[in-house]
């Protein structure tokens, strides 16, 4: 357990009859950057709040650096938490804002100034030291909020949607900042719905849907779990096309088109290139109007969609 920064054991959280997080068993290694993926309502924020000690689990346990979390204060000493939506105190200067959180964490007066200065330097806000926080741009406030989570030098950082609402330039800056923090030895858990952002920076991923952890591991591990796929777009005669595709060799399953793309057929396919070519030829011979035919890439986004869609199908079955 000591190799793990975070471990949850059958973590469960209910709101009345609704189960927000269901028997979550999470293992996050020291020094990793863990990307938490999932659609809205998947239970990511609820999980992060339980990890931060802000929410009582209905059952199950949370271990941070091997320590069982039963009180908020125990988690507060280990974790720096940045919520998805946050506010700032009006009429406080930037340095006073960080000084306030340093005081709340009990940083000694002698160390407070150097801590605040160091953090302002880290998040590149030294020039805004005496500005009022309400006058900062959204990106600057985001960086200031990240700095507040670092004020007590926590071993673990929990960042809930840290890139939301940021412009592309600010996202790049945030990504660089997270890399710096990783180099400082922090274990970082961040949730996001901007999947390609996470792909570049995270070492491990967890995919959640409807309160359940569908998959967990490195990108390579997740790729092994995914099945290759073909995407075929027909302009007409969808039912005949789906029946014909399902009868071809190498085809594992033909998925129903999504509502947003009613003529796009996704096919789970483990055949070789020869079989793919034969499939296309057969569709053409059947005089089906094919507008697009391609193998899907192995992006995180596709893995994510595949896992989430499969989970939805399994639930319906």
């Amino acid at each position: 357990m000591s190799e793990l920064a975070i471990q949850t054991v059958d973590l469960l959280r209910r709101y009345g009859k609704y189960t927000a997080v269901n028997k979550l068993n999470l293992k996050i290694t020291l020094g990793s950057i863990f990307g938490f993926l999932g659609p809205n309502g998947a239970g990511k924020t609820t999980t992060l709040r339980m990890l931060a000690g802000l929410l009582e689990p209905s059952s199950g346990q949370v271990f941070l650096h091997g320590q069982l979390i039963q009180k908020t204060s125990t988690a507060a000493a280990i974790v720096g938490y940045m919520p998805d939506f946050f506010g700032v105190y009006d009429d406080l200067r930037v340095w006073e804002y960080l000084d306030f959180y340093a005081r709340c964490h009990g940083i000694e007066p002698a160390k407070r100034k150097s801590t605040v200065d160091g953090l302002l330097d880290l998040v590149d806000l030294s020039e805004k030291r005496n500005a009022f926080v309400q006058h900062l741009s959204r990106g600057m406030q985001q960086r200031l909020c990240l700095a507040h989570a670092l004020v007590h030098d926590p071993k673990i950082l929990l960042l809930d949607e840290p890139a939301s609402g940021l412009d592309p330039q600010a996202r790049v800056e945030l990504r660089e900042l997270l890399r710096t923090l990783r180099d400082m030895g922090k274990t970082i858990i961040l949730s996001s719905h901007i999947l390609n952002e996470l792909e570049d920076i995270c070492t491990d991923f967890g995919i959640m849907a409807r309160g359940e952890l569908l998959a967990q591991g490195s990108l390579e591990t997740l790729r092994q779990r995914s099945r290759p796929a073909l995407q075929i777009k027909v302009l007409d005669d969808l039912d005949r096309a789906m029946r014909l595709i399902a009868a071809q060799s190498g085809v594992l399953r033909v998925l129903e088109p999504a509502e947003a793309t009613p003529m796009l057929i996704e096919v789970e396919f483990d055949g070789d290139e020869q079989q793919a070519s034969q499939l296309l030829l057969n569709l053409a011979r059947a005089e089906l109007p094919i507008a697009d035919f391609h193998r899907e890439d192995d992006s995180l986004e596709r893995l994510f969609l595949q896992l989430v869609n499969n989970h939805g199908l399994e639930e319906r079955v």
Partner: protein
Amino acid sequence: MSNRAVSRRWSLQPNPIVVKELRSRMRGGRAFILLTGFLLGLGLVGYALFLRATSGQAAGMPIFSAQIGQTLFAGLAFMLLFLVILIAPAVTVGAISSERERLTYEMLIATNLPSHRLLWGKLISALSYIALLLLAAIPLGSIVFLFGGITLRHVLQAAAIIVLSAITSAMLGIWASAMTGKTGRAAVVSYVIIGLVLGGFLAGAEIWTNRSTEPVPTGLLAPNPISALASSIGTLSGPSNGGMITTMRAFEAVPMAAGGGWWPGMNSFSGGLNFPGWQTFSIGIYPATDQFGPDGMPIIAEPRSVWRTTLIILIMTCLVFFWMALHAVKPRRRWWPTWGDLAMLSVTSLSLLGLGYWIGWWF
């Protein structure tokens, strides 16, 4: 470093909430405008009271300096009581709820700051502003001493009632803020409770007086700071024979007939305490007896002394509000009793019992 060590390390430092609130509260003109308005209002009320107290002079009525002093003192004391009771919740109703509303609450409770330090910080920062108002009013209030007619004992009693009422009122605001989570709702809850306590008990005492010859029960007087202040001010000595100012303590005095008595509210010589509302505020404080004086007027008994019971009620109310707010701000296991609760309950109960036996207020 362990949590205990961290807590010990900063427990000697100033409360972070107080530092932050004072930094932000005193910025801009808002705090100073309110202070100026408060002093102007108080000054105008004082001047109006002075004019009223001396109005009979034009008609040739003798006016004693002490009467002016007593009227000013009583009027300003009630004015201060009302102002602090009304201002204190306005300062505190957003204490917890505004943190939730502006989405800073989770960031705050995710720190090492314990719940009780958070609440103390909010209370102290609110009270420090109320204290600033009260301290700023001292020069104005000290004008009373130019006229005389009051004792240090009365000043201290009034100060105790006003300060404890301010603390309770501030604590009520914090409690409502923590329980409701919405500033608007907390304000409504706070002011409805204040209205019920101040107006409800006075109305109850009035109804009792109209329907019964028995004295108004202490239960209808003691919970109300207005009645408490009236019961303290009611013991002010008025002019007696020859217009001399007596220094006789109320409880040592022999009840006098209403026509020639010296109780400030009933003194026909001076017209009583000459400010609007006194008759209402002092309902139930002067119980009538079934005896009549030589002039045929009913004898008024000595004023009811309820202010000490009021102080105990206010302290107890503060503790209950604090305890409930303390649990309401906890992120987890809010209403689980703790050893701290048991310790607080034990110490409070023993202290009150000891105080009760020692002073003999209750027994």
